[in-house]
């Protein structure tokens, strides 16, 4: 090949991007040593005293952090389940619609919330579920007393889970719809000739046709078990719902940046990063094992 000596040029092409990533992704990683230090902002990372695993031991004695871990995993797992099932059902229903114009209009509408930020949608949801908002008006028509939705710790996790599914289900149908278009139409014809009705076709043709996709999505979502959604919860929560709604990321934000407990916040953040990294690597490995999926 005539590509001898190209490597030098390749390194030139890569250099600016790598400098960027080193400065803004890799250098910050070294800050994790704070978790093992008695960090003194005046002396910085290099001058602070090393205390080993003290902070981690302390972390596990705090009820606060244990509660936050629980909330995170509960909300994240419920979201994962909902975000796998709801889009699947919606895609299957949409797949049965034969009016192309209607199908496309519905798709256009349900994709939209995915692209709006949680700042915006948080504001919208707080309005909708406000004490005198439309949801309470509707409930009032049925004689239900107004509920202070986002002030109730017992309701908060479910509002978070539900609104996340609401925001993302449309977008998540795309992958299923792509898989559905990949099913060979001849299979439906053959089933029709054999006398299968729509339900039978759904069961014997459609579902087997998207099984690989569903398994793949389920495996990949393993990487999200510690991601309960910082942006969403940060824009919806308030002190009344900390007991059930506070998650690792929001807790780290408050402990570190508002209360200046740098070591503790770094330790909790580090624990999350490490476990998250293991989970996501595992999910990629399993996805490759089961479905031959590779990200590059």
């Amino acid at each position: 090949m005539r590509t001898k000596g190209f490597a030098k040029h390749y390194y030139f092409m890569l250099a600016p991007g790598f400098v960027w990533l080193i400065l803004f992704s890799i250098v910050p990683m070294f800050g994790i040593v704070i978790a093992f230090q008695n960090y003194n902002p005046g002396q910085g990372v290099f001058g602070s005293e090393f205390i080993g695993l003290e902070t981690f031991k302390y972390m596990f004695t705090l009820n606060d952090t244990m509660n936050v871990f629980y909330n995170t995993i509960f909300i994240a797992i419920m979201k994962i389940i909902g975000n796998l099932i709801v889009p699947l059902v919606f895609a299957l229903m949409l797949n049965e619609v034969r009016y192309m114009g209607l199908k496309r209009s519905i798709q256009t509408i349900v994709y939209l919330p995915h692209f709006l930020s949680w700042v915006i949608l948080g504001g919208v949801l707080l309005d909708i579920f406000a004490y005198q908002g439309p949801v309470n008006q509707m409930l009032g028509a049925f004689g239900v007393d107004p509920v202070l939705f986002f002030g109730r710790a017992d309701l908060f996790p479910f509002l978070v889970i539900g609104s996340d599914i609401w925001k993302e289900f449309g977008f998540n149908t795309i992958i299923y719809l792509a898989a559905l278009t990949g099913i060979n139409p001849a299979l439906y014809e053959a089933a029709g000739i054999d006398g299968a009705n729509r339900l039978k076709m759904l069961w014997h043709v459609t579902l087997p046709g998207i099984r690989t996709t569903a398994v793949l999505l389920a495996v990949l979502s393993l990487g999200n078990v510690l991601n309960a959604g910082f942006d969403q919860i940060f824009n919806l929560y308030n002190p009344l719902v900390y007991s059930t709604g506070d998650i690792i990321d929001t807790w780290v934000y408050r402990a570190g940046l508002l209360n200046l407990q740098y070591e503790l916040a770094t330790a909790v953040g580090l624990l999350k990063s490490v476990v998250g990294f293991i989970l996501i690597s595992l999910s990629y490995y399993l996805a490759y094992k089961f479905t031959n999926y590779r990200i590059f």
């Binding site: 490597a7 890569l14 600016p16 209607l102 709006l116 915006i120 309005d127 002030g151 609401w166 780290v252």
Partner: protein, 296 residues
């Protein structure tokens, strides 16, 4: 799909379409409600009289919004951030994707570099180390903190998408160029980039939406409101109350006291840029959601 004309099938269709339409409406009505609220009078909003249509239709909120200098300052900061962020993304991504799309045979260092890149995507040091690093760089209150930190966290995903696209371009194109004596820069800029408009449009749209929607870095890296990007500014509209002493009554009063019609107007205006690029998003994002692919 086969067309069956039985009555039960028709009934099923009607039920199916009704459900789909209702679900689609739940995606759009909350946004519509926000618009109605912003066009209603304050008293109507406070009394909870607004439902689907504005009550006492007026533009007072928007007139009031015009007086809010900080809103426009923040809007302008967000525009700058989007232009710089998406611009940088557009330049760096192809420069990195091209060498990394080569096989190890053509580019020896490729795999090590690729895994380094993947590592920066999957692992991070957490919020506190990031905050302290940026502070150490002296980038507090600089728009570059927003552009470079956010960009570094999203660029690897975009690079992988582009690598996958480059790899699917016909090999013979490059070989022909090589025969003609073309160098790597020529191949990248005159051959690959012009052929990669769909994927470059996709990653640019991702970058635009990301930088427009992101609010957390504005909150932690900007110490004064005058430097806030728009989403951070809107996020901060909620009055902060001492968390430890907040009661349910206070929370309720807080949501009643806030100027809901004005807030709704701000939320709606902040939504508009995303709505403007939405048609393009719809056209291109299908490429983007399937990050990886199943390969033989």
């Amino acid at each position: 799909m086969l067309r069956s004309k039985s009555l039960s099938s028709k009934v099923a269709d009607v039920v199916l379409i009704s459900i789909l339409v209702i679900v689609a409406l739940t995606c759009i009505l909350p946004l519509w409600y926000t618009l109605s609220l912003s066009l209603s009078s304050k008293t109507a909003a406070a009394a909870g009289a607004v439902a689907l249509w504005p009550v006492d239709f007026n533009f007072d909120s928007y007139k009031q919004l015009l007086q809010d200098g900080q809103f426009f300052k923040s809007f302008w900061i967000s525009i700058q951030r989007v232009v710089l962020g998406a611009g940088l993304n557009f330049i760096i991504v192809p420069l990195m994707a091209y060498p990394l799309s080569k096989t190890v045979k053509d580019f020896k260092g490729r795999n090590v570099l690729m895994w380094t890149l993947i590592f920066t995507m999957l692992f991070n040091g957490g919020l506190i180390p990031l905050y302290l690093t940026i502070k150490g760089y002296g980038l507090m209150n600089s728009i570059w903190a927003l552009v470079l930190v956010g960009g570094a966290q999203t660029i690897v995903f975009n690079i992988i998408l582009t690598i996958n696209f480059f790899r699917n371009l016909p090999k013979s194109l490059e070989e022909a160029a090589l025969v003609d004596g073309a160098g790597p820069w020529y191949i990248l800029f005159k051959l690959y980039i012009p052929l990669s408009i769909p994927v470059l449009a996709t990653i640019s749209l991702f970058s635009i939406v990301y930088h427009w929607n992101e609010f957390l870095y504005g909150l932690i890296f900007m110490t004064r409101e005058e430097f806030y990007p728009l989403q951070t500014y809107i996020q901060q509209l909620v009055v902060s109350v001492d968390p430890s002493t907040m009661t349910e009554d206070q929370y309720k009063r807080m949501s009643e006291l806030s100027n809901r019609t004005l807030d709704a107007a701000k939320i709606f205006i902040a939504m508009i840029p995303v709505l403007l690029v939405y048609p393009f998003l719809q056209k291109y994002f299908i490429h983007g959601i399937t990050l990886g692919s199943v390969k033989e």
